[in-house]
Every structure is written in structure tokens, then in C-alpha cells.
């Protein structure tokens, strides 16, 4: 099995994905992702030169609608599930 991804790279991807792992989990994850990526090499058996990538399950055209104002979720209901809110805004730790 070839090493597709090293631990440092797993750490970098975790940062991109906004997640944290301890040493043990990072090692386990590196092993599992490597074995999955090795399996994905199977796709390279196929020559896909000139094949269009499929982006939709069915052939869809762009969907347009009139730009009209419709009622949307009221503020109170939008805030109801927030871990922290002040009645008007979502509250988060200080950004700057």
C-alpha cells in the first residue's frame, strides 16, 4: 500500500475542515484515509479522456424564478435553536 497522505497533511486537512484530533485519532485516521485512497486508485484503470464530468443526476437547465419578495422565516424562529442569541443577533465569541 502506498502512503498517499502523511500525518502532517491530515493535520492540515483537519484545519481546513475545522476539526481537531488527538494524536491517537490522527494516526488512526491517517491509516484509514490511506487505505481508502489506495482503493480509489481503481478509477485510474479507466481512461476518461474527453468524458464530461457528470454534475447533476438528471440533465437540468438553470432554474430561474421571478425576483419577488416572499415572507421568510421570522427572526424569533430563526434564533430559537441558537446556542447563544440576544433576541436580535446570534452571539459568538469575539472575532477581532
Amino acid at each position: 500500500m502506498t502512503q498517499k497522505i502523511a500525518r502532517e497533511e491530515v493535520r492540515h486537512v483537519a484545519k481546513l475542515a475545522r476539526m481537531e484530533f488527538n494524536d491517537q485519532d490522527e494516526e488512526r485516521l491517517t491509516g484509514q484515509i490511506n487505505s481508502i485512497l489506495n482503493y480509489m486508485d481503481k478509477l485510474n484503470e479507466l481512461d476518461t479522456t474527453g468524458v464530461d464530468p457528470m454534475t447533476h443526476a438528471i440533465r437540468l437547465q438553470n432554474v430561474f424564478r421571478a425576483d419577488e419578495v416572499h415572507p421568510s422565516l421570522e427572526r424569533e424562529r430563526a434564533l430559537a435553536n441558537a446556542p447563544a442569541a440576544d433576541g436580535v443577533n446570534f452571539v459568538v465569541p469575539k472575532v477581532i
Binding site: 476539526m19 484530533f21 480509489m40 485510474n44 457528470m54
Partner: protein
Amino acid sequence: MALVALGIRELHDLLIRKDVSATEVVTAFLERTAAVDPYVRAYLTVLADHALTVARAYDSGQMALDASPIAGIPLAIKDVICTAGIRTTCGSRILENFLPPYDATVTEHLQKAGAIFLGKTNMDEFAMGSSTENSAFGPTLNPWDLRCVPGGSSGGSAAAVAADLCAGSLGTDTGGSIRQPAAFCGVVGLKPTYGRVSRFGLVAFASSLDQIGPITKNVEDAAILLQVIAGYDQRDSSSVNREVPEYRSALDRPIKGLKLGIPKEYFLPGMHPDVSSAVEQAIRTCAEMGAEIVETSLPHTEYGVAAYYIIAPAEASSNLARYDGVKYGLRTPDTKDLLSMYSRSRSQGFGWEVKRRIMLGTYVLSAGYYDAYYKKASQVRSLIRDDFERAFQSCDALLTPVAPFPAFRIGEKTDDPLQMYLSDAFTLPASLAGIPGISVPCGLSSEGLPIGLQILGPHFSEELILQIAYQFEQASIFRSRKPELPLPADSLPAQ
């Protein structure tokens, strides 16, 4: 036969004739659930008070039982589908206390048609899994054998139908999550064409693949439920504006003269012998009814697993970016800055399988790897779709097994993600192509576990695959089989 064993159509007939009251029906399912669900653990939330209140509204004449074929019918809903004001967890700690502020389009349709919601069913976290073992709230067990998984990710919905804890249910299918648990639990499961049913209010996993569909005790009930939920919805721009046929009216048509293709790639040497023999018997049954059986080939089948496990995690990594502890869901307390609040909340709230897929998805989409993985997988997806289009030029529908083996033991595949992923090999290609598929029971293994026949058709051919499934079901000897429940108290599994 006990009330709870009846399907949707039979129950509705009794209700309309006033042979039973809606309250009696709901009470029977609640009592059954109290007796059996401690073993099976299909439900995450049981809506006893809500269900009884609606039932009383029917019995007092405030609601009309003749309003629709599902009026007064108790149903279960997979916990990834939003129900306004009713906890919707997606099987995840991160949404443990989430109360959706609105209904999904499908739950709106069901309620307008008068269904009674009995509860929300267990599932693999965010629908990522094939065994329901990835639920943060513990696994659901297979009603046919409590040592086995019910399949996944809609394992709770399939087990609830098989164990008679509801008359029918909704599941969701991204790579087989309706068809495979339906097969493992000996019930009927239909994944509609992508775009046939609105995804509005379905918590997203992989948006180009997710579809909602019915899990029922028989094929006619699947047609009834699909009728209620199918159709265009402005709030889901990938739903398709196309007429919805009368699904039930096609069921009685004989299948004589239909060309049914048998793709040779779906019959592998390593398959469980009982699966091959049950499916071959089902093919013979269709031939005896006058269908023409033709051998066909879907040459890219073996690439389905690799393509799917790039595309689905890529979409998931993007969709699940929304769980950041700000608008809803779990937030880790006492974090000093925004970034650590994000990453600690996510690390604490997500389970291992979800984290692994987010990592894999983030990696395959990251700079330098996009072409090698995501683009390549999307090209292979085109080849898989083309395989089906070619096959449907020479046959009306395809017959295959749903899974290479019957339900496996709890814990058997949890340590090896690839082995678990390979269990979806026969359901993933149809998902990638966006075509509809139905799983219908076709036999039992030597250990007494159900086996499913998969019928696949071209885009928007639900009418046809329901017809074939119905005709097969009527001819098959399997259809009256039920698991033996409730079980003796000493079979209660250890916690």
C-alpha cells in the same frame, strides 16, 4: 391478523368502514412499540400524545378519513427529515436538541393528506452508513435476528415497518439507504428518480444523490405513499416539474412481454449463495409470468464504490460546514475565539464516520487533488450513467440483488470502512445515475434472514418498477412472512 400487521391500504379500508377507530389503531401501534421497541430500538422519538390527539380528531369527526388514502394512517419518519417543532437529530449529538422551525415538503404533504406521525426513526449519523451502527444514540437491531444489523442508513424506518411499529415509513437513499435496509428487514423500499420528490427540509448529506422514498409492508403501499410525496416543489430547484402519474393504476398490468435485463456484473462469485439462488428464483418467477429475460452488461459497475465514496464525502464536507455552533446545534462552552469554537464544537458533536467522511471530502476537494479525485469520479459517474442508458435501450428494466449478502452481525464490519462501503456495491450505481430502484423481498437465507430483489428502471419509470415489483410480489411465496416478535425477555441485548 393483528391490526399492527396490516399495511396502509388494509388499515384505511378498516377505518373507512368504521370497523376500527383511529384511536384504536394508534393505541395498538403504541402498545406494540412499548412491547417491542426496547429490543429493536427503531425509534429515537415516539410521538404518543401527538398521535393520540390527531386520532381523536378523526374519531370525533373533526378530520375526515376519506380525505386521502393515508388519512388516519400511523407512519414513522426518518430523523433526517424536518418536522416542525418535533426534535430532528439526524442520529447526531450535534443536533441532539434541534427543533426544526419548519416542515419538510414531504412532511407537509403527508400531514395535509392526514397521516398520523407516530415517531422519528433511528439512522446512521447524517445518513452516513450501511448498518445504523453509526447512530450517536446506539444501533437499531434487525427484527429478524437481534444479533444482526437492520441495514442502513434508514435502518430505524425499515425495522419499524418490519416489526409492525408503524403502518409505513419514510426513509432517504443516497447510495442505497432505503433499498438495502428494506432488503435486510424483509420489507419494500423505493428510491425514486432524483428530482421526483422534493428535498426541501431534508437535512443534506450529498445533495446530488439524496432522495426521500417510502418503506412499506407491500408494493401497493409504496405506490400510495409515493403518490402523496412526489411532485415539483419550487423550494427545491433540483426537483423536476413533470406530471405525477397514478402509480396504483399500473400495478395490475401483467408483465408479459416486458424485457427484463440481468446485468452479469451483479452476480459475483463471492456472493452469498442464498442471495444468488433467491434472486435467480425471482428471475424464473418473472419469466414464468411471461417476461422476457435478457442478459445485459453494465461494464463500469465495479467502479461505483470508488466514484461514490469520492463524490458523496466531497458533497458532505461542504454541506456539513454549516454545523459550526452558531445558528443551531451543539456549541462547546468556554472557547476563547471563533475558530476554536468551530473546531471544538464540530469535533465534539460529530461521530467518527462523519468526521472521516468530512476529512476525505475536504481532501479530495483541496487544491492539487481536485482533478485526480473529484473530477475523475464525476467522469466515471458519467460512464456509469451511460451504462444504464445503453442497457435501457434493449430492456425495460433490470433485475439484480440488492446486496451481496443478507444482514450481517452487529460489529462485524465497523472496524473496516472499506468492507462496509463494499456492501453498497449493487445500490450505488443507480444512485449515481439518478435512476429509480425498488427493493422487494424475494426469500430467506438458510439462517432465516430476508433477501431482497432490486428492480431498476430508467429515469421517471416508478410506475413500471412498481408494476413489476407488484406482479412479482403477488406471485412470490415470500410475501406473508413476518419475523417472530415480541421476543422473550432473555433475548434483550446487552446495552
